[in-house]
């Protein structure tokens, strides 16, 4: 048998049909929906007089728009409230499980899927959200789709996709202290740029990747879209199986044994070919932070902003425009720059491990007076766990406020907006102009770097004050 990659094994097992001269018709095992990209798909479905073909394969939760304080009250913003209510009504009408605001199962869609065991190795998983790539951490093919495709999944449990090319990114060696999965992500994107992965599906491999926890793997796969890739994935191993076993929707008993036997076959065969391969040494990775307006504009925290002297034409125009927006000068040192806000949360870094890292860092320290911090758990389950472990007390003593679950300031669709001109060290995934509010200036970083900035009020290498 011809050696196959992990990606090929799963993809080929889901192709219902190869359209002549066209895309593959791909069967979808798991579909997640939220309030922003689903309403028009439901409308389209109804206009055609169709029903949801397999409602049991779709799970819904409102996350993008929801407030992160006083969630027991009615949502004040009328448009947000309409969207959140439309999701609930559409789910009721079509028999889709819906984890509403304030309920036990509520949270950011990419956080609750894995928590509930809905995300499993070998699956095809889609959602009308680009960070669906998160679920690839389990050895699944998971990617973001548009609303037309959401409608396709409703109507047929399939979508039409050309088969992407395959990329392998290997990181070998041991990560230095203070270096996290987020730093690997920002490092890789800085190397290959925000378009380096376009047209590809990435498999992350190598000893540094294998050493990551499931939370870390989710952070890394989550960010794979930021280098332009359709998604990223990691071969399932004992770490994966241990995480999945016993969760609500995980297979049980004999079903578990059968599933496990299959999951153990999900790895790239020796000799299987990739279209593109990158290899990095874990020892070269340092805590990272971004200085520009796309996630590829990142640098080691102890370094300087590039001068841009080697750029020309539209590259130079874009670079200058970006630094002007950020209020930075080419060649500036990153360390020591004053910041105003710290946001911890999102589908990138809103899991329990992220809050544990922050708690252990800030314990016994105090938040800088001029900094406003928003700690937003990724789900109700994360929030409960924070409280169960007493992390909320540590946060409180250090001067940090814990909010309620949602996407929050990652994309600022709710009231959690960073004011124009203010600097925000954020554990989220995008530093685009206006992403965290009109005029907001975002510096992407790991939870540790964010915590260090919250304590000192400026860009700080967390290793210096650990």
């Amino acid at each position: 048998m011809e050696p196959k990659t992990l990606f090929d094994k799963i993809w080929d097992a889901h192709v219902v049909k190869q359209v002549e001269g066209g895309p593959n018709v791909v069967y979808i095992d798991r579909h997640f929906i939220h309030e922003v990209t689903s309403p028009v798909a439901f409308l389209g479905l109804e206009k055609r007089g169709l029903k949801v073909l397999r409602p049991e394969k779709t799970t819904a939760t409102p996350d993008h728009n929801v407030p992160t304080i006083n969630q027991h009250e009615s949502i004040k913003d009328e448009l947000s409230r309409n969207q959140v209510e439309a999701l609930k009504n559409n789910c009721t009408k079509h028999g889709i499980t819906h984890h509403g605001l304030g309920t036990e199962g509520h949270g950011v869609v990419h956080i609750i899927g894995p928590e509930m065991g809905l995300t499993q190795p070998g699956m095809t998983i889609v959602c009308g959200d680009s960070h669906t790539s998160t679920h690839g951490a389990f050895g699944a093919i998971a990617f973001g789709i548009g609303t037309s495709e959401v409608e396709m999944v409703f109507a047929s449990q399939c979508i039409m996709q050309p088969k992407p090319k395959k990329m392998k990114i290997a990181v070998n060696g041991t990560l230095k202290e203070g270096v996290t999965a987020k730093d690997i992500a920002l490092y890789v994107i800085a190397q290959i740029s925000t378009s380096g992965g376009t047209g590809h599906f990435i498999e992350f491999a190598g000893s540094a990747i294998e050493s990551l926890t499931m939370e870390g793997r989710m952070t890394l796969c989550n960010m794979s879209i930021e280098c332009g890739a359709r998604g990223g994935m990691i071969a399932p191993d004992e770490t994966t199986f241990e995480y999945v076993q016993g969760r609500e929707h995980a297979p049980k008993g004999e079903e578990w044994d059968k599933a496990l036997a299959y999951w153990k076959t999900l790895k790239t065969d020796e000799g299987a070919e990739f279209d593109t391969i990158y290899e990095y040494d874990a020892a070269d990775i340092e805590p990272m932070i971004t200085f520009g307006t796309n996630p590829g504009m990142g640098a080691k925290i102890k370094s300087s902003i590039p001068t841009g002297d080697d750029l020309s034409g539209s590259d130079k125009i874009s670079f200058d425009k970006s630094l002007e927006y950020m209020g930075f000068n080419p060649g500036d040192q990153l360390e020591g720059k004053a910041i105003d806000y710290v946001f911890v949360g999102s589908c990138t870094n809103g899991r329990i491990e992220d809050f544990r890292a922050i708690a252990s860092f800030v314990k016994g320290k105090q938040k800088a007076e001029n900094v406003i911090t928003w700690l937003v758990p990724g789900s109700k389950a994360v929030e409960k766990q924070i409280i169960a472990e007493g992390l909320d007390k540590i946060f409180e003593e250090a001067g940090f406020a814990l909010r309620q679950p949602g996407c929050s300031a990652c994309l600022a669709m709710n009231d959690d907006k960073i004011p124009a001109g203010k600097y925000s060290v954020s554990t989220s995934n995008r530093n685009f102009e206006g992403r965290q509010g009109p005029g907001a200036r975002t510096l992407l970083a790991s939870p540790l770097v964010a915590a260090a900035a919250a304590v000192t009020g400026k860009i700080t290498d967390p290793r210096d004050i650990m």
Binding site: G22, V40, D129, I317, G434, P438, G439
Partner: protein, 196 residues
């Protein structure tokens, strides 16, 4: 919904020589709150078209009266970022039928094609020439022929061919969409489910 049939068009181009134009620029998240596909065109490039006091920024290309037409010509890696189809809707609903760039983000490209908006990928050199042509004469026009898969710069007479998936090309030319196709495959899909 069935999409509009794509017909050969000749039009001036609107230049946006900026790289990595992301979906948050095309349509900021705070304008994604509608539950119908309505009004997105008004908020296309909202934060580049309007300043913080909601005043029109007059020299931004989409506001500048010297530029017109149904073709947006943009720097490389257009449409990166989120999967929001609202980005394709906003561009299309604003009256644009074609986006030309030297590189497109995958999800945006798929969303555009699903809505009758044609992404035309050209070489970086050719893209630079297009910007130069428009700078010389904003009224100079370009011809997009999907059937022949050609894009012509009328001012220079140079014509280049562009790639498109043959299935997607048929869909655009005839106004078909994928949902009709998939719904007609119901028996095959059910058979697939049984055989797993």
């Amino acid at each position: 919904m069935p999409i509009d049939k794509f017909k050969t068009l000749t039009s001036p181009g609107i230049p946006l020589p900026i790289e990595n134009v992301d979906t948050d620029q095309i349509i900021p998240a705070r304008f994604l709150k509608a539950v119908e596909r309505k009004g997105f065109g008004d908020n296309l490039f909202r934060d580049w078209r309007y300043d913080s006091n909601n005043e029109l920024i007059e020299d931004f290309a989409l506001n500048n009266p010297k530029y017109s037409g149904e073709i947006l010509i943009a720097g490389k890696n257009f449409g990166s970022g989120s999967s929001r189809e609202h980005a394709a809707w906003a561009i299309y609903d604003h009256g644009l039928k074609v986006v030309v760039s030297s590189f497109f983000a995958d999800i945006f490209k798929g969303n555009a094609l699903n809505n009758g908006l044609l992404p035309v990928q050209v070489s970086e050199d050719f893209l630079t020439q297009l910007f130069e042509t428009i700078e010389k004469d904003p009224k100079s026009s370009f011809e997009v022929n999907l059937k022949e898969q050609t894009f012509e710069n009328k001012a220079t007479g140079e014509s280049v061919s562009f790639e498109i998936n043959p299935y997607k090309k048929e869909c655009l030319l005839n106004g078909y969409d994928d949902i009709d196709y998939l719904v007609n495959m119901k028996d095959e899909i059910e058979q697939f489910e049984k055989n797993r």
